[in-house]
């Protein structure tokens, strides 16, 4: 019997998608043969704003590229401009940035775990993850003043300090999170129903990952050793950690890698706060940037690239942000080929899509 082919539109509005992306799924019975993505529903033109805003004001625009990895967008932009201007950021500021980076990684991964649980229909696990996430968001609000948009970066350092009482609060919260996450980890990694939905679904080999240029936990779950933190920006050069890699490459491994990265982030926060040096928070910056720089930072979703070009005026010439989701989209389409139609929402979730980042 000849199999029937049809095209099913998926998104931009779909219960599993927090943000709009559209996929044309070519299906043969229940199997997907090909997926064609199309983006461009929430393009805001943030990059072109760089020609209208002062390079100091642009920090606030760069931060608003995305609501989840907001801190790292601001930091990536600031570090690029600092490199162009040859500004030496104080050591304390670099450590504080690292702490906030890891805090945002924890909340981003917990958010993703919740969405994944919701995706395979485990509602109470979803609420459990988001309840844990609330603890770290409280700490972000305590130290920066905002729950997601921190606005603590500036060219030349940071604006706010993490006081000793805040440090103890963070360490206490992190300890609680670790304890509660162990329970959640047990459920994710041992539960029969979770396993049946994730194991062996959407397998991507290391070769495919390298060919398609995937990044972040999505690539690390397939055995590719990509972690931009190893480059040693911020204070990562002084901290002791190894990228978490799993050789399996299915959705289960992606979940495992992300859970272990939360534990790693907790460890990094402890290390950074333990050896937090004294000193200034920022150095005064004078003049305008002139030159160009290419900055790579590791965001929760993978490697983000910032390209900044300036020509000695107060407005920059060009800012280009290549976000991790954009790099992971070819990998997503590859995993969708040959997948069951019922697994599509889960597979889209496993790249941790952030569409507003992608479209800027």
């Amino acid at each position: 019997m000849a199999k029937k082919r049809s095209v099913i539109p998926f998104g931009p509005q779909h219960p599993v998608l927090p943000e709009p992306i559209h996929l044309d799924l070519m299906v043969e019975d229940e199997k997907v043969i090909k997926a064609i993505p199309s983006i461009g529903f929430i393009h805001r033109g943030l990059e072109s704003l760089v020609r209208k805003k002062d390079y100091n004001e642009m920090v606030y625009v760069a931060e608003r590229t995305c609501g989840i990895c907001s801190f790292m967008h601001g930091m990536g932009y600031c570090e690029s401009v600092e490199h162009i201007m040859g500004v030496e950021v104080p050591v304390r500021a670099r450590y504080l940035r690292t702490v906030w980076c890891e805090m945002s990684r924890i909340h981003s991964h917990l958010l993703w775990l919740g969405l994944l649980a919701d995706g395979f229909g485990f509602e109470s696990l979803f609420y459990q993850c988001w309840r844990i996430r609330e603890r770290i968001l409280d700490m972000v609000e305590l130290t920066t003043g905002g729950r997601l948009i921190s606005s603590v970066n500036k060219v030349g350092g940071v604006i706010r300090d993490i006081e000793p009482d805040m440090q103890t609060a963070i360490l206490r919260a992190v300890k609680e999170i670790e304890k509660e996450l162990r329970v959640v980890q047990k459920t994710f990694m041992n539960d029969y129903s979770v396993e049946s939905r994730l194991k062996g679904v959407g397998v991507l080999t290391k070769k495919e990952v390298l060919e398609l240029g995937c990044t972040g936990p999505f690539a690390r779950a397939s055995g590719a050793n990509f972690d931009m933190r190893v480059r040693g920006y911020g204070a990562y050069a002084d901290l002791d950690f190894d990228p978490i890699i799993s050789p399996v490459g299915d959705s289960y491994a992606r979940c495992d890698v992300r859970i272990q990265e939360i534990f790693q982030s907790i460890d990094l926060i402890r290390q950074a706060l333990g050896q937090l040096p004294d000193g200034d928070l920022s150095v005064p910056v004078k003049g305008n940037p002139d030159g160009e720089y290419f900055m790579r930072v590791e965001q929760p979703r993978g490697e983000a690239v910032y390209y900044v070009r300036a020509s000695g005026k107060k407005n920059l010439d060009r800012l280009r942000i290549r976000t991790p989701t954009f790099a992971n989209l070819p990998g997503l389409c590859k995993t969708l080929e040959g997948a069951d139609y019922a697994d599509i929402p889960l597979l889209i979730l496993t790249i941790d899509p952030c569409i507003s980042c992608t479209e800027r």
Partner: protein, 176 residues
Amino acid sequence: MSRIMPFAMTMLKNLVSPPVTKNYPESPAVYPERSRGHIEITVDECISCGLCVRSCPTGALEVDKTAGSWTINRFDCIACGYCVEKCPKKCLHMVPGYQEPMMEKSSASYQKSPEVMAAEAAKKAEAAKKAAAARAAREAKKKAEAEAAARAAREISEPAQEASQPAKQARQEVTD
């Protein structure tokens, strides 16, 4: 057992414990000290320099120096705190507590009190008076200098002035 129901303990615990969420409007939210809620101004201390207006990334602020008013469009403000950092008089403050929803987009205007305005006007008038006095003094000095110069010139060109005497007399006759 742990393979089938690892979540059972959590569920049982949640059944007997109170909810994590708050009954929000009844039990008010507690904001940390640094919370970036909204911006407030001690308008009487403001010197209307306009640095906040120039620093605002969204252009939400407006300052009128003559009217002594400071206006913020609450819907445009992103509570980044850049103006608070830039304010030279430190009269802008970031205050916890988010803005309440409104029916239509509007801006909040803050007006300096009449006493402050009067004091400022008096100060300005005094400054203007002082400036005028200084200007007058300067002009008088200039005049005196000019006169001295003219006198010196006259002394040098005495014969020429004598030569012009008859002409002066003639002019007088005409006017008579």
